[in-house]
């Protein structure tokens, strides 16, 4: 395995040094075929599973401390345990990947659909259910066709469907595809969408999917990458899994590192062992900031995450450290911004995303996000008013009562506010829009002030 090879057929994937748990087949051009899967240990974990008791399989997953890779980082084994003894029950796979900066589930679906299918069967078996819906984002036709083809082959080979691998176990996996709406990635909205409705989140409680999910029946929603880890875990055991990563966060994550770095890409990285500094500057990873510029800020976990700065570079890729430091690892999306970046402009772009994607179900989010966008736009356009900075913070506080999570700013003597934010809304989308605002204003207030001071006398905008 070469060091740091950009793998052209798996655009974005960098085959660097280190353990490969979910990306082991990405190096092969035909990684998505059943032949390649079977010749490289594919479906071995599933076959082993079928010889075990469902409860034993669930126990291995719980013991492995497999943290959910969809954003919240909740241990899969623990979540599975929340299902009441009620049937029917469903597994819904979340392949809606659309958090800004996130690029890993699409790779997993396009490059190794059989690994995901095998993971689904293992999960269904452990959960004692026989109907799984695999929800793929609408704007991913290649992932859809790769999964369709993989499912067709797997059904034909007796690896999915009736009497799997000649046993009495029968499990269906149904490919479902969406039609463009970020909010559908939220698990209760995903369920609404799968029922044929507008993808608006449900209130939790009472609608925790594990108890009242699809068709109001117990439902587990898991992320693609979470499930893609299962074949390896079952094949190699929880103890071996815990050899990698840290005690609190075993195993690896597939990280998309984008923006101003020399070698942006998707890297499989052990959790808890590598610092952000190593990721950005290390030779095994991104190899430095683009054009050897200075780092200005970075987003450690997708558009919803509060920003980090120089002072946080030595934090390890460890959810348990990043949370108290004021942000989250979220969906494994790291966006690096160098000193040439306009903080107001970057802030506006992320906020505009949330304003566009708000589903409109609750007022603080629907109204608040569009106000945030409007105010930031007028500041950027040179029509800002001196009171706009505080107004932004005030609008934000209506969506997410302050103090909002932020990183420490040692120079100004300000301490970190730990993640997660509070919310006045049904789901966390609204509060996410406040992350770039509080991050940017706390750190770069003079940039906002300078734009406002340079205000053009013509018209005050909105």
């Amino acid at each position: 395995m070469a060091t740091n090879t950009y793998v052209p057929h798996a655009a974005g994937y960098v085959d660097n040094e280190g353990v490969k748990i979910v990306s082991s087949r990405f190096q092969y051009e035909d990684s998505y075929t059943l032949e390649r899967s079977l010749s490289t240990g594919g479906y071995e974990g599933m076959k082993k599973t079928l010889r075990m008791q469902p409860a034993e399989v669930a126990a291995v997953v719980k013991d492995a401390v497999l943290l959910g890779r969809g954003g919240a980082g909740f241990p899969a084994g623990v979540k599975w345990g929340f299902m009441p003894p009620v049937w029917p029950r469903y597994l819904v796979v979340n392949g809606d990947e659309s958090e800004p900066g996130t690029y890993k589930d699409r790779l997993l679906m396009e490059r190794d659909p059989h690994q995901l299918i095998e993971g689904c069967i293992i999960a269904c078996f452990a959960l004692g259910l026989n109907t799984c819906f695999l929800y793929v984002r609408g704007e991913m036709p290649v992932a859809q066709e790769r999964i369709a083809e993989a499912l067709n082959d797997a059904y034909a080979a007796g690896l999915v469907g009736k009497n799997i691998d000649g046993t009495d176990v029968s499990i269906d996996i149904v490919l479902h595809w969406g039609a463009g709406a970020y909010i559908v990635g939220e698990e209760t909205a995903l369920i609404e969408s799968l029922e044929g409705n507008r993808g608006m989140p449900r209130l939790k409680p009472p609608f925790f999917p594990a108890a009242k999910g699809l068709y109001m029946k117990p439902t587990i929603v898991n992320n693609v990458e979470t499930l893609a880890n299962l074949p390896w875990i079952i094949t190699n055991g929880a103890a071996n899994f815990k050899e990698y990563g840290s005690e609190k966060s075993p195993g690896t994550r597939l990280l998309a590192i984008s923006g101003h770095v020399k070698r942006p890409g998707v890297y499989e990285v052990e959790q808890g062992r590598v610092s952000f500094r190593e990721l950005f500057y290390g030779h095994n990873f991104c190899g430095g900031i683009k054009d050897d510029n200075d780092l200005k800020m970075f987003i450690p976990g997708g558009g919803s995450a509060p920003w980090f700065f120089e002072e946080q570079l030595d934090l390890l890729l460890e959810a348990g450290d990043v949370g108290p430091a004021g942000s989250m690892l979220g969906s494994g999306a790291i966006v690096v911004m160098d000193h040439t970046t306009d903080a107001v402009k970057a802030c506006l772009r992320v906020v505009r995303f949330f304003a566009r994607e708000s589903c409109g179900k609750c007022t603080p989010c629907r109204e608040g996000t569009s106000w945030e966008e409007k105010i930031l736009q007028r500041i950027l356009d040179g029509h800002g008013r001196p009171e706009d900075i505080d107004l932004l913070l005030e609008v934000g506080a209506n969506i997410s009562p302050s103090p909002y999570p932020v990183a420490a700013a040692p120079e100004s003597g300000l301490e970190a506010v730990p993640f997660p934010p509070k919310q006045t809304t049904i789901c966390p989308l609204g509060p996410s829009s406040v992350a770039p605002i509080t991050s940017a204003i706390r750190r770069f207030r003079p940039e906002f002030e300078a734009k406002i001071a340079a205000v053009s006398p013509v018209g005050a905008g909105a």
């Binding site: 655009a11 974005g12 008791q53 469902p54 049937w87 029917p88 469903y90 990947e97 659309s98 800004p100 900066g101 996130t102 690029y103 699409r106 004692g128 259910l129 026989n130 109907t131 984002r137 609408g138 704007e139 036709p141 859809q144 066709e145 369709a148 083809e149 067709n152 059904y155 009736k162 046993t167 009495d168 176990v169 029968s170 269906d172 149904v174 479902h176 595809w177 969406g178 039609a179 463009g180 709406a181 970020y182 969408s193 799968l194 029922e195 044929g196 409705n197 507008r198 993808g199 068709y215 984008s258 923006g259 942006p264 998707v266 558009g303 966006v335 970057a346 772009r349 992320v350 995303f353």
Partner: protein, 202 residues
């Protein structure tokens, strides 16, 4: 005319059979309708309402929530340019402006020859390959302005057979052979699967 044709009705029935409740098939069926006509027609929505057993208003209610469904004719090629953060940092907005100039349309617009519709879109899960775009949802990576021009002339000259017309998504569909299906659980069913009960009782 723009109800689903015979082949698509058959396809629709196959899709519906994979869900315990017909309405769950609605989004995939709307895609079938959009693939047939290039956009979702009123007649198609009425037809889908019959097929899944809801009202046409309910079909529109769902369809209008989702960005990919279009209710009027679109260009043969939908060119979606990502301007979200990772792409913005590496020239996504400049690429969009270049596209506007080259094609002579604004986001949401369609060229007079009906070939191109342009959109300014959100993150398309290719952030490390910025700036990027999709043509009918097929990705193109790390484009400079010359790459964009080349892409457009390839599309004009019909030399990109790998990109199907707008409305068509995956070229391979799931098809479960007869007798291979385990049997989708309906929410009305009670009791755990036999294999589970057998393995859990000792």
């Amino acid at each position: 005319m723009s109800r689903l044709n015979e082949a698509n009705v058959e396809l629709a029935q196959e899709i519906i059979a994979r869900y315990p409740r017909r309405k769950s098939a609605l989004i995939p069926l709307l895609h079938v309708a959009q693939e047939q006509n290039g956009y979702v027609t009123t007649a198609a929505m009425e037809h889908l309402a019959e097929l899944v057993g809801i009202t046409p208003a309910e079909v529109l209610g769902t369809a209008s929530f989702y960005e990919m469904f279009k209710f009027e004719p679109q260009g043969k090629y939908m060119v979606n340019i990502c301007t979200n953060i990772s792409c913005q940092l590496l020239g996504g907005e400049e690429l969009l402006h270049h596209a506007e100039k080259t094609l002579g349309i604004r986001p949401g617009g369609t060229t007079d020859d009906g070939l191109f519709t342009l959109e300014d879109v959100e993150c398309m899960a290719a952030c490390t390959e910025a700036p990027c775009l999709q043509v009918n949802y097929r990705h193109e990576y790390r484009l400079d302005h010359d790459d964009f021009d080349t892409l457009i002339s390839e599309l004009r000259s019909g030399s990109r057979p790998d990109i199907p017309d707008h409305g068509t998504l995956g070229l391979v569909r799931q098809h479960i052979p007869d007798g291979r299906m385990a049997g989708i659980d309906s929410p009305e069913k009670t009791g755990s699967p036999e294999w589970f009960t057998a393995r859990s009782s000792n």
